[in-house]
Amino acid sequence: MTGTEFNVRIPPRSIAWGKWGWLAALAVLLVWSYSVGEGEILSLFTREGFIQFKSYIKNFWPPTTDGAFLSIVGHAALETLAISIGGTAIAAALAMGLLYFASSEDLIGAGGEWDATAPYQKMLRRGIFISSRALLNMLRTIPEIVWAIFFVFAVGLGPFAGTLALGIHNAGVLGKLYAETIENIPRGPVEALRASGSSRFTAFSYGAIPQASSQLIAYSLYRWEVNIRAAAILGFVGAGGIGQQIHISISLFLESRLATLTIAILILVNAVDLLSGYLRRRLEARF
């Protein structure tokens, strides 16, 4: 270089918030969160903790493979699969049924400036809209497990309760996803149908839903992947599926059985993930 010195001043940091402020806040949050489990987690790293860990892990191998148990596992796995399929199907059907009511006036009323504007009618529509959305919200907020307990109470132990629980809970989840999707479609076709004399519902069913249909199906298939995992644990509260076997094995400290069950879940979940992914890809190609 030529030897000229450049006197470069580092720009002064702005005080108060800014990068460091956020990071400090985050650090505090993390430390506080960690503290709730500190004792137990640290104990894992002690000598005894490690020995206990090793002996615990040893119990898992080899996994139980006797015929009687395997057939139980097989049946439970199929039941779990059935719960996930039935639950997702019910959820999709319910969500579709509610979609019209959960869609905004902006969409349904497209092209309808001349429609009846009596205040009571406007209020009624708004009321229906708000209640539908609130209902969907309620269905999604209550965890599947709570729904499972509810349905076990209502229809007894077994996979029927599990199917209903998944169906009702996911009706809320899919309902929200469906509503968000359909909210984003162009209003033009709906308006055109109304201008030629269609009713609000017809313009919605014919003009709005077909535009969103492939996305709605994709969401439903994706939800199936989530549901197979949920279905696996509903058995804990008696709602059928492999969860019940897991519950038993854990309570009776039968780790080798747990190993088999875990492998079964791995296979089941991966199978559903693959199938769901395949169907979604086929769907994209078709549409």
Binding site: G188, P189, A192, S196, S198, S205, P210, S213, S214
Partner: protein, 282 residues
């Protein structure tokens, strides 16, 4: 008697919209129509011309009962839409078919469904939904598809058709609707000039055959002057003139297009001069 013959009757209609991005409370309005008064008889053929932003689309949406005037009166077929509702209102709407500039077809449906959508006003909801699975009245759809020349594409997905084919599907949709009146918003905007004449002739032929009223928004003045016996000039929401083509002077056209953002004054003058030189159809 007078009223029955009037298909469209607008009296001092005003319509304004909040400006995009502006808040209506702050008074950022765009006045789309300012005191529009016109009447069109059943069976007439009218072209509406004017620069972009003049309010042509708003006027059209006013006449097909999509928009409602802020003030002023409007009568369709002698009926005041504010006095009717529900089924009657839908019947009134069904009496007007619209061809939109953006087509407004449902892209994921096959052409046959988009065409049959023109029949929805006569169908029950069950028939409408069932038709999506198994199309009803296929022959009718085929008939109108043939009239516009898209018969071979009847079963194609609409978004796989070319722009021109989609437009013809949109036209077929209004044909099957068999309405008394036909409105078209810039039907030749994205069509090359050689085809523009053909398309307008087709529209005129189809409506003349069934004595439909036809009202077309056009930005292409020569085409308008050639094909329509009545021209309405719209500028900034006001009707500047309402005349047969032979009475339209270059001064009128200059007044109409003056201030058109897409055209500077000098250009307008030259362009209009060239238009008026063209032979005007009778």
């Amino acid at each position: 008697m007078e009223k029955i013959q009037k298909a469209f009757n607008l009296a001092n209609v005003h319509k304004r919209f909040p400006m995009a991005g502006g808040r209506s409370s702050r008074g950022n309005w765009k006045n789309a129509l300012r005191g529009v008064t016109l009447s069109i008889r059943s069976g007439e053929s009218v072209a509406v011309i004017g620069p972009s932003g003049a309010g042509k689309t708003t006027l059209l949406r006013m006449m097909n009962l999509t928009l409602r005037p802020d003030s002023g009166e409007i009568y369709i077929d002698g009926i005041d839409p504010s006095k009717i509702s529900g089924k009657e209102l839908r019947r009134l709407r069904a009496g007007t078919g619209t061809i939109y500039q953006q087509h407004n077809l449902i892209p994921t449906l096959r052409a046959v469904h988009n065409i049959l959508a023109g029949r929805l006003s006569s169908w029950s909801i069950f028939r409408s939904l069932y038709s999506l699975l198994s199309p009803r009245e296929i022959n009718r759809a085929a008939e109108v598809a043939h009239q516009v020349g898209v018969l071979d594409k009847l079963w194609e997905r609409t978004d796989r058709l070319s722009g021109g084919e989609q437009q013809r599907v949109a036209i077929a949709r209004t044909l099957i609707q068999n309405s008394r009146h036909l409105l078209a918003d810039e039907p030749i905007a994205s069509v090359d000039p050689s085809r523009a004449d053909i398309l307008i002739s087709l529209l005129r032929k189809l409506s003349d055959k069934s004595q439909k009223t036809i009202i077309v928004n056009l930005h292409d003045v020569p085409v308008a002057l050639r094909h329509f016996p009545r021209i309405i000039g719209l500028h900034a929401g006001k009707i500047i003139f309402d005349l047969p083509p032979e009475e339209i002077t270059s001064d009128l056209l200059i007044r109409l297009y003056e201030g058109d953002q897409e055209m500077r004054a000098g250009e307008a003058h030259t362009w209009i001069g060239e238009i008026v030189k063209e032979p005007l159809a009778g």
